[in-house]
Structures are given as C-alpha cells and as structure tokens.
C-alpha cells in the first residue's frame, strides 16, 4: 500500500463510516466510479471495521498479564525447559519446586525439579552432586529413584527423574493405616536400596519419610540421593561451626528429628548415619511419633545427642516375645555411638529378615497394626517416658552444637523468650491477652477476628519497641483483609506464586529463619523485620532474581550488595545476604533515627529508595500532628507522596498480617512451632524505648 493510495482509501472509509450504513454502498460507488480496486479495498476495510469488535481494544497488558506472570512469577505450568514441558506442579522441596513434566523425546512423564539459583550457582558443588546423583541412579536398583537427566536449559538448572505416582511415607504415616506387615515390607525395601548404595560407597544423608515414596503397586523408592550433600553449605571459618546447623539452614530444618548424633555435631558422616535415620523412620512408622522430639529444634538436637529414645513400648512393660527382636533392632539402629549400631545395611537387612520370620511364625496377621498388637497384649497405649527417669543435658552438649552465638541466643530463647512470650504463657500471666484463643482464626466471627487482630498487633508493636497503639477500626480492617487473603488461599490450588498456600510459604521460609534471626539480632534490628520482610517481598523464594538484577532472599541490588561486602556471586547465599540486609537496615535506621517509624520507612525503602524516604520523613516531621507510632504511616498516608501512599498503605497491614499469622501458626491450622520460639526472637525487644 502506498501512502497516496491509503490516503484515498482512508478518506472514503472515514466518510462512509460517518454516513448511515444503508447509504454506504452507493457512497462508495460514487466515490470510486473509476477505480474498482480502490472501491473493493475500501469496502473490505469497512467490513473489517464492522467485524473487528473488541479487537485490540483491551491493552496488551491486560491480555498478556497472565503470560507475564507465568513467565516471571514461577507459575511454570506450560513452560518448556529444554525438551520438557511442565504439566503440573507436584510440590516444593527444600531444594526447589518439583513439577510433573512431559519428556518430548520419549513419551513419558518425569518429575522435574528446578534448582534454585542458590543451589545452582556453585558449579563445583553442583558437579559433585551430579556425580553422586548419577552414581546412585546408575545402581539401577528398583528401590532407588532413577535420575534421567541433570541438565541446564533456558538458563534453568534442573533434575529430571522418574515420576512416582504414589505417596510419601510421611503421608502414609499421617494416615495411620500402615499395618505391621506393610511397615516391615517398606523397611525391607528401604534397606535393600540403602544396602546397594552403601556397597557402592554412596550415603544418602537425609533419609526421612518425605524422601521415601511408595507407588500404587507397593514398590518403594528412595528419593534424592546426593541432594542432602548439595544442600550442605561449606562451613565458613571454624570447622566446628557445625555442618549440622548449616545443613539446617539449607533444607533439613524441621527434619532434625532424623539427624544422627554425628550429623548434629557436624562430624564427618558415613553410611551409619543412614542406618540411624532409617531407625527413626521405622520407629515413626510403628508409633506415629518421633523417638527424639523437643519444643524447639535445639531441644530436639539435645535429645538426639544426649538422651535415650522415647521407649518404643509402654514404660514398665516388657516387650512381648514376638516384638522383642524388633524392639532390639530399632534400639540398635539408634545407638549414640555409631560403633555400637549395625555397621552395615546388610547386617541390618539380615536382622530385619529374621524379625519378619519371627512374626510370621508367631501367627501375626497381615492386617494387624503395631498399636493393635500392643493393645491385644492388654497394654494401655503409649505413654511418653517420664522425664524424671531421663537425665538432663550437660552443658557440653550445647558446646558440641557449635557456634557461640547460637549458644547465647538459644539459651536466651529457651529461658527468657519462651517463658515470656509464648502465647499460652503470655495469656496465663495476663501480659498480653489473646482473645478467642480457643478458636482457630477461620472459625471466628468478624468481630472476634478484629479483636484477635487488635490484641496480636499490640503484642507485635511491643516486640518492635513501639508503644502499643490503639488501632482504629479502619487500620484493623486493613490488617484483617490481608489475613483473610492469606487464609483464603491456604490450601487452595496454587496457579500463581501469589496464590500459594500458607503452608507452602512457611515450608519455604523455615530453612532461612535461624540464619535471619541470628543476623538481625546481631545488629539489634528487631528480628521480626528480618523474618517478615522477605515473606512479604518474595513469599520466601530462596533465591529469585528480579529483572533488574535484585537477587536473593532479600532484594539486594548488586551495587548495594557490594557496599555491604556481598559479591555478586553471593547474592543467593543467605549466610552472606542476611547479615548484610540487617546491616543495611541498621545503617539507615541510625541515619533516620532509632524509632519504629524510621524503621517502617527503611522497610519501605526496599521499594522506593532511601533518598526519597528520607525526604518523606522530613516532610512528615514538619507536619503538626506527627504521631510517633508505627501507625503514623497508615494514618498520615494522605500527606505522603503518591507512590509512597500506594506502597505504604498496603505494606503496613501486610507486614502485620504476616507477623500475626507467623506468631500464631496454629491459629491458622498450621502445624508449625510459633515463630516466637525461634532462636534470637527474644532480641526483638532490644530496640531502645522511644523517648517522647
């Protein structure tokens, strides 16, 4: 089309459209009496106009919003990575998201794990992992998950493994339906896989019910060989700086229950660690509880290091003859000194076979459960061992755990914080009433919810060094909206990152909490900030990179990071970034003033920039009714810059919503220890009291 020709066509097109539809044909005839081509061209354009309807009327943004989100926000469904196409999401593990994907070369489904950059950025570590994972896979054992490929495509590192259509042992335990025969069968299969791996010199390091699956046809698979090693962060500094704790920050938090004593102490480990962990799994399958548990991870570790397992059988009863060898077998897997355990999986396997035979000859039926077997012997269920009979941990145990800082905060947390601030304690002492504490949040009426939020907000304000302010209803409702939003998406299908359930966010958050708590406490920045900020910012993705290059758990720009001694390659290293983030916040707080509102502004500088925040603060301080409360932001938002208003108004309620939910996970039906029991959380009160 030439400009000339187009001009003619368009002129008539416009005029025709402005004339009544029934006259258009004759109008065209008249206009193009000598040029049929132009006439039909114009007629087609008019027809197109009439037909076009909503074509391009909605901006591209609106149509492509989902595509943009799918691409950038981690909803990877439909995404193609190399020759795999992601079909569905299977779950999230300590080492990244797991998806169901189609392998286009072979017509098969695979489980595709996308390794977060955090783990994938260390080539050496990844290579080591690859060697190990492949070695295990190469054993070609039916009870070891087959790894198809460890690769990289489109900038993503991934592991493609056999897809297991079944349930994890964790899920099976939760259903409490495993019969004794099934348990022994599962145990036999696990030990068979372990025996083969150990014979090849491969140790799993992270045997736990989450890492073992049973297929619909009963075949048991051990997952993730080698991954535990990938997750271990090499100790910086002193060798005693516990591999255990670092591993904990990596991925096995919450699963310390399966750790062997040598693992907990950060010693070199061998296959006898797998034997211990196997023993714990077997114990748990039978009794539905762990042999070593404590209120906190630290307590659990102490139990592991120092105390005998909770008795498998009720106190004061001797094992029924047919159970005796099983009990002895488990006891032998759980000896503190590894020289006293079974020395090889093979040895254990032989004993396990023996137990099974004894069971068969004792006439135990296949469908019997362990509990039934016990009750049949006229024994009244299980009772935990009396604490009196167990000796208290000696101080050296703590030292064995490593880091001095940890020691200090752990003890402080155990003594001070727990006593003062766990909800039940607080309620009892009347320090901070928890309303409707008997009810789970979702069961509360709107009024109860508001009262609950008001009480929680006051507790958190106190923790943040702020004088509790009586919130107006508008502010409470703003928080409530956020909480309701979180709660509503709990358990719902997650089609975008934004829609992830609370459980998932927590699961991802847990590994980082101790590190963050430690770092922030060291800088005298309220730990709660370190904990919730990433939750708000990133739903706790261990390492994600925004398109402007901000990376890591905290959104550090590379140049800012450099100012805080974090090299660009370390942006995903939580151990490096968390202290730097705390330092950044401490610096800006020092500059702005050590009060709660400065802190709020510093938090907001994540999104808006420190210079600008400083200006806003000055502006605000000049205003007459400047209120020195955390809520001044919310109340004064109309005075603030427009962009600040957009960010700030949503931010503060979101912050409190995250904090309130985190303080009381059980109120939201989550099975997790309250964040207030975390190491270092007691230091939230170290902020100097405001002077006013």
């Amino acid at each position: 089309m030439t400009p000339d020709r187009w001009q003619k066509v368009e002129a008539i097109f416009q005029d025709a459209l402005d004339s009544p539809p029934q006259e258009r044909a004759s109008f065209l005839d008249q206009a193009f009496s000598d040029d049929d081509d132009l006439r039909s061209e114009t007629a087609r354009l008019i027809a197109a106009h009439d037909e076009a309807g909503n074509f391009i009327e909605q901006p591209a943004l609106v149509e492509d919003a989902r595509i943009i989100l799918a691409h950038k926000l981690g909803n990877n469904i439909g995404r193609e990575i190399g020759l795999y196409r992601i079909v569905d999401r299977l779950g999230a593990g300590g080492m990244g998201e797991v998806y169901l994907a189609e392998d286009s070369r072979l017509d098969r489904l695979v489980a595709l794990k996308l390794l977060p950059a955090y783990f994938a950025s260390d080539d050496e570590r990844l290579a080591r992992f690859q060697r190990e994972a492949r070695a295990a896979s190469a054993l070609n054992h039916p009870n070891i998950l087959t790894i198809h490929e460890v690769g990289e495509a489109d900038g993503v590192r991934f592991i493609a493994t056999e897809f297991i259509d079944g349930q994890t042992i964790q899920e099976l335990i939760a259903r409490q339906e495993l019969t004794l025969a099934e348990i022994l069968d599962i145990a036999m299969q696990i030990i068979s896989g372990l025996a083969t791996a150990h014979a090849a010199g491969i140790v799993h390091r992270d045997i736990k019910p989450d890492n073992i699956m049973r297929r619909g046809d009963g075949l048991v698979k051990i997952l993730d060989f080698g991954i535990a090693k990938l997750l271990e962060v090499p100790a910086h500094g002193a060798p005693s700086a516990g591999t255990a704790m670092f591993t904990e920050t990596g991925a096995v938090v919450g699963t310390v229950g399966y750790m062997s004593p040598e693992q907990a102490r950060g010693l070199a480990i061998d296959e006898r660690t797998d034997i211990w962990s196997f023993g714990v799994v077997l114990y748990q399958m039978l009794t539905h509880r762990l042999p070593f548990t404590g209120a906190t991870r630290m307590d659990t570790l102490v139990e592991i290091l120092e105390r005998e397992p909770l008795p498998l059988l009720p106190v004061g009863t001797d094992a029924a003859p047919e159970l005796r060898s099983l009990v002895q077998l488990i006891e032998k897997t759980l000896r503190k000194n590894r020289d006293d355990r079974f020395q090889t999986a093979l040895e254990l396997q032989n004993d396990l076979k023996q137990v099974r035979q004894e069971f068969a000859s004792a006439g135990i039926r296949n469908e019997e459960t362990f509990a039934e077997l016990l009750s049949k012997r006229d024994v009244a269920g299980f009772t935990a061992a009396s604490a009196k009979t167990r000796k208290a941990p000696s101080p050296f145990v703590f030292i064995a755990l490593g880091v001095a800082v940890l020691l200090a905060v752990a003890i402080a947390a155990a003594i001070t914080y727990q006593n003062l601030l766990t909800p039940r304690q607080a309620e009892r002492s009347g320090a901070a009433p928890v309303t409707s504490s008997e009810k789970v949040y979702v069961e509360m009426t709107d009024t109860e919810r508001l009262a609950f939020i008001a009480a929680q907000e006051q507790r958190i304000s106190t923790m943040m060094g702020d004088r509790p302010a009586k919130l107006d209803e508008e502010a409470l409702r703003a928080i409530k909206r956020q909480i309701d939003h979180y709660v509503a998406r709990s358990g719902s299908g997650s089609d975008t990152a934004d829609n992830e359930s609370l459980d998932l966010i927590y699961a991802r958050a847990r590994p980082y909490l101790p590190t963050i708590a430690r770092s922030f406490a060291a800088r005298k920045v309220p730990v709660i900030i370190g904990i919730y900020l990433p939750m708000i910012e990133s739903a706790y993705r261990p390492c994600f990179e925004s398109s402007i290059g901000a990376k890591g758990l905290f959104q550090f720009l590379p140049q800012t990071a450099r100012q805080y001694d974090v090299a660009s390659g370390e942006l995903c290293d939580v151990e490096k970034v968390a202290p730097a983030a705390a330092h950044y916040i401490a610096d800006h707080m020092a500059e702005l003033g050590d009060d709660a509102e400065s802190m709020t502004l510093v938090l907001l500088s994540y999104n808006t920039g420190a210079t600008w925040v400083r200006g806003s603060l000055r502006q605000l301080r000049d205003s007459e009714d400047y209120e020195r409360t955390f809520w001044m932001l919310f109340r004064n938002r109309d005075r603030l810059d427009e962009s600040f208003r957009n960010e700030g108004a949503g931010y503060v309620p979101m912050f409190f919503a995250a904090a309130i939910i985190g303080e009381n996970p059980r109120n939201f039906g989550l099975e997790m220890e309250p964040l207030s029991t975390l190491t270092g959380m007691n230091d939230v009160t170290t902020l100097p009291p405001r002077t006013n």
């Binding site: 089309m1 030439t2 400009p3 187009w6 368009e10 097109f13 087609r44 354009l45 027809a47 197109a48 106009h49 037909e51 076009a52 074509f55 391009i56 901006p59 591209a60 943004l61 609106v62 492509d64 919003a65 989902r66 595509i67 943009i68 989100l69 799918a70 691409h71 950038k72 926000l73 469904i77 439909g78 193609e80 020759l83 196409r85 992601i86 079909v87 189609e102 286009s104 975008t496 934004d498 829609n499 398109s547 402007i548 290059g549 901000a550 959104q555 720009l557 800012t560 983030a581 500088s605 994540y606 999104n607 808006t608 920039g609 420190a610 600008w612 810059d641 427009e642 962009s643 957009n646």
Partner: protein, 194 residues
Amino acid sequence: MISFSQQNVTELLTEWQQGDPAALDKLTPLIYDELRRMAHRYVRHERTGNTLQTTELVNEAYARLLGKKNYDWQSRSHFFGVIAQVMRHILIDHARRRHFAKHGGGVREVSLEHAALMTQRRAAELVALDEALAELSQFDSRKSRVVELRYFGGLSLEEAAQVLEVSLMTVRRDWRAAKAWLYRKLKESKHSDE
C-alpha cells in the same frame, strides 16, 4: 534493596530522547518490572471478581515509575510515548521467543495442557500484529503510533491525543481506521498460514 529509583527513569528517558540506544536496554527491565506488578494486580483483581479499570492500573504504574515530582505534563507526555515503545519491545520480544521456540525447537504438541497452546497462539498473534504495525507505519506512521500508544501503552484516546498533539477527533478516526486495517491484515495472514 532499592528496586528502582524514579530519578533513573527520567534520566534514562532523557538519554533515550537524546538518541542513546543503550538507554532503552536499561529502561526495559525497569519497566518490565512495573509491567509485571501491573499484571499481578490485574490478575488479582480479576480473580476476586472486581473489575479494575485498566486506565487506573496503567496510570498508577506510570505515576510510580516517574515519581510525583516528575509527573508534570511535559515529561508525562514524553514518557507515555517512550513507555509504549518499550512495552511493545518487551512483549514482542517475549512473544517472539515463545513463537520461535515452538517452531524452531521442534517440540511436540501435547494435549495435556491447554494453557501452553493458548500461549503459543497468543505469541503468534502478537508477532503478527507487530509485523502488521511495522507495515502500517510505512504508509501511515501516525496511525501506527496511535495503536502503539493505545494497545501497548494502555493510553486512553485523550491521552494519546495529548502525546501526539492532535485533536481527539483525529485520534479517534486514526484508531478506527488502523484497527480495521490491522484486523483485516491479521485475518488474511492467518488464512494464508493455514
């Protein structure tokens, strides 16, 4: 810690205006980030059943990108012009990658997941639209700009008129002609593909 600063955006806009092509590369990620946020907010509102005015959404994002200080008319108008180009660049770039990944990668179509197919189709449409728009600009560059501002920049007719410094009437007529022409062009190219 700082996602972006408003100062950067205005500086980059000036550099871009002065003909520095590298400025666009720097601007793109900043705007992409904002685009992502807009998308996020849009989808969220949609899910909760609230219809969010697109212009509201777009204006909010632009205000944040520019900062209040710089949100005066002149830079605003200029900014709209540039941001529409950048958005087009971003979306088309993304669409091309998807589009060619499909055709070049030889990946088999799998019927398990429809969303992926929709996305591919959408990518193809966007690529075709971009090409048609380039052709339109050959013989009527202003109409091509109007579409760019409206479709990729999310501007209203009034705002587009301000940016282009023409009357609202002109923009309205440009829009309907361009829309009709593009519609026919895409329909034809779709038929010739099949």
